[in-house]
Symmetry: C2
């Protein structure tokens, strides 16, 4: 069981609280994972009664989630929730907050262990942290203080450094939990399990046996209500810098020497530091942007916007394990399919020049295809493995067979939302699935090596598979995107 | 397309012809794999008209197989079949056979390429071959002659040598096709495909990564109508010496340098020569026999029979690849389940002391189980792979997942009978799936190292999983038989 704690959310009337955080608390309670000493203080500027606010939360769960609401669990969350009205821009309001918290802690009603969740724009992080500190809300002692923040952590390395130094004046690195909700997804966590809890994958996990790796996150939706933020950010910063690079790090990192959070993050940092930077000479050949056709007609998007809603890129990792293996990343909005997956394409037997135990020549059947391991992150969750097997008949040919394990297809299984896991992790003080500063800094360092002015921008049809150039990027290397492999659905992409 | 040829079967009124050979010819024709110049001469002692004999064949297909009889294919086989009445013990009858064949070949009706199939007891092999030779039936020239024989090839190395030398007086080694019908089974052939047409298995295929291998052939049926033969033979000679050791050889052989039949048989021979022999000191600890309870009550079985109907054994292979890995073999009659499978149990990550690319310590989750690859030969045909994946929930545990590919579950798929493949192989002259003399000799050499007098014989219940001692054999090593793993069926074998 976790320590008892008090969760203090700035941005309490925002979408995140309704859609994700309160539903996650409900589920954690339902699963018996909440300490009885838990309380929630939700801060907002709007004038609301406690009853109105709680009704908002309830309506949010009903409207935005598919949860079966469990009365006892909801009562638990509701009874422990207090809406606290204040303007986080006003220094004097922090005195009220301090007094409220002090009185609740002194009376024994609240735990003195504080989790501060800044569910507000990052431009407010420094100010809120500073004002909390000046007003004695963040107190050291026998209790603990933890800070939770979400992306964007800056727009480049410099701005990220500035943001970080503001926060670090008050919180130590091990008190800061930078959420990347991809790290809370079931199948992203499963990558670590698959790699290190099975004997059969890690020996194959290197340039000796792997031809290329593909990491894809494609979305059906367009920019939606986030137009203002999105147009000033773009897909590279919104998706690649965090979700895709984190997924890459977990897929490609060396085995950690233990499960200790810092050992895991140490190997991720090592990996991030080994990404081959782009130069102005190489970037245009290896990175391309796209923008969906109707993007400029979206509400609040400038008609001359050059913001990318699609990124495809090829990168290398310069270490013994991965030298020579291309990693292909792709992400985009308004595509034909919602999917997130990591695809490991193995070499052909004949291309494995030197294996560990043998140095034999395999004679490859002409029908044999590459072995492919797919780790499906969403919406379907599971793994599949393509093998060559004997064609079922009298003749001596092979045929491709696919073995599959579908986790999300299991009976009675609802995938826990990433926020459940991540909130629980913060309560436990387990920072494994949060981004440490040095990881973050290195990911910006890599992204900053992309001179965006030199990257070509192509338009692509709404609900298409993205710009044709993304397919050409792989075709030049005699490869193809596996997530576009429509063979099994009876479609073909021969023209790509 | 194969050469045209004439198939001459001794034992033409026996079960094999009706149940297997003629149905296989029907299917090969149906699949378009038969040369138009094919003819069949079926030899029997009984007095039958051509029409009666062909009706027997037709009735056999209807009664003993599940084939959909295709009129055109059956007409093809029927029209090319001649029943030839003779007593193969009478030298004078061979003159009649020679004259018949000569006239048919001379008139251009029959191909001069002869396949002789001895579907008779092995005690007759030498005599028939000798009389054919003396009477000028086996002629060298621009045509070819091939001899097909089936087990038992002797009862020990000495008798096998005698049998072989009788045959070799007439036929050269490359003219002799010793059928082991296991080598014609789809999934046995698939073992080679899986190992050498995929990049991901062979690197793991050694004592570095594999903990143990299990080869199991269990039968529901009792001794049936083969009592006389069976009681003088026993499971060790009837099953282990041929089917199980051949399966073992294909599973464990080194990669061949090419697909050439002799290269494949070279590595099988090497493997057979590396089997660790039993001594009188070791045999009782590693080999055990069983006899099902009702065996002595079967028709034509002596009441004091000590013949084994069940064998379980543990053996080692003394080479770099397999040193230290136990191979557990089990076969028996009258067991609770009909199954044939090869099970590869991999080591735990923590037990892999030194991998090729890393030398890291994995911290193993307490719930993690061994990875297990099952190659299912019959009745279900396919492969499955047990993996540890993340337990689908917020907690950090693993759960065992099974990925499966079921070949025999595919729509519209009828597994071809082993005899189809094997007859076609002989027509082509492809000896890959036939046992070469040196393989056979070495398998007897290994079997002869078992001093049967020292092997304990246990009784086991009809329709049980065999004697408890077979489970203890593995339990002593802290292992278990995977084919008895009833977890997935909701049963347990806790008491074993």
């Amino acid at each position: 069981m976790e320590d008892s704690c008090t969760l203090i959310i700035f941005g309490g009337t925002g979408d995140l609280v309704k859609r994700k955080l309160v539903p996650a608390l409900h589920q954690l309670k339902y699963e018996g994972l909440m300490d009885e000493g838990f309380n929630l203080v939700s801060i907002g500027r709007r004038n609301k009664t406690q009853a109105e606010y709680k009704q908002d939360l309830f309506d949010g769960m009903v409207n935005y989630t598919k949860l079966l609401i469990h009365e006892e669990s909801w009562e638990f969350v509701k009874n422990r929730t207090t809406y606290f009205q204040m303007d986080f821009n006003k220094p004097e309001d922090y005195t009220l907050l301090r007094n409220f918290l002090n009185s609740k802690v002194d009376s024994g009603e609240y735990s003195p262990n504080f989790m501060f969740y800044l569910a507000v724009g990052p431009e407010n992080f420094g100010k809120i942290v500073n004002l909390m500190d000046q007003n004695g809300i963040v107190k050291d002692g026998n209790n603990w203080n933890r800070l939770i923040i979400e992306k964007p952590f800056g727009v480049d390395l410099d701005s990220a450094k500035t943001l970080n130094s503001e926060i670090r004046k008050v919180f130590k690195e091990d008190q800061i939990f930078r959420i990347d909700h991809y790290l809370g997804k079931e199948m992203i966590q499963n990558i670590t399990m698959l790699r290190f809890q099975n004997a059969i994958f890690e020996p194959l996990w290197s340039n000796k046996f792997i031809d290329n790796v593909q990491i894809v996150v494609s979305e059906l939706d367009g920019v939606g209500s986030r137009a203002g933020y999105y147009d000033s950010t773009g897909a590279l910063r919104d998706m690649v810098q965090n979700h895709l690079l984190q997924t890459l790090a977990i897929t490609a990192m060396d085995p950690p020497i233990s499960n200790d959070p810092d050992h895991i993050r140490d190997v991720k940092v090592k990996l991030m530091s080994e990404l081959v930077l782009y130069s102005d000479e190489t970037v245009a050949d290896n990175v391309l942007f796209g923008q969906y056709e109707s993007y400029k007609n979206e509400l609040n998007i400038p008609h001359d916007s050059k913001t990318e809603t699609f990124v495809a890129m090829k990168l290398y990792i310069d270490n013994e394990k991965w030298r020579g293996v291309p990693f292909y990343l792709m992400t985009g909005k308004k595509l034909e399919e919602k999917t997130a997956q990591v695809t490991i394409e193995f070499k052909f037997p004949k291309d494995i020049e030197e294996t560990c135990s043998t140095n034999e020549i395999f004679s490859l059947n002409q029908n044999s295809a590459a072995n492919v391991l797919e780790i499906k992150i969403q919406p379907r969750e599971g793994i599949s493995l393509r093998l060559n097997t004997k064609k079922p008949a009298v003749i001596n040919e092979t045929v491709v067979a696919e073995m599959e394990y579908c986790q999300s297809c299991q009976n009675n299984f609802n995938t826990p939302d990433a926020y459940e896991k991540l909130l629980l992790d913060v309560m436990k003080g387990d920072s494994t699935r949060f981004t440490r500063w040095d990881e973050l800094a290195l990911s910006w360092y890599f992204i900053d090596s992309i001179n965006k002015k030199l990257v070509p921008l192509y338009h692509y049809g709404d609900n298409s598979c993205g710009p044709t150039q993304a397919c050409i990027l792989l075709k030049k290397d005699d490869r193809k995107w596996w997530h576009l492999n429509k063979m099994k659905r009876g479609e073909t992409h021969e023209n790509l």
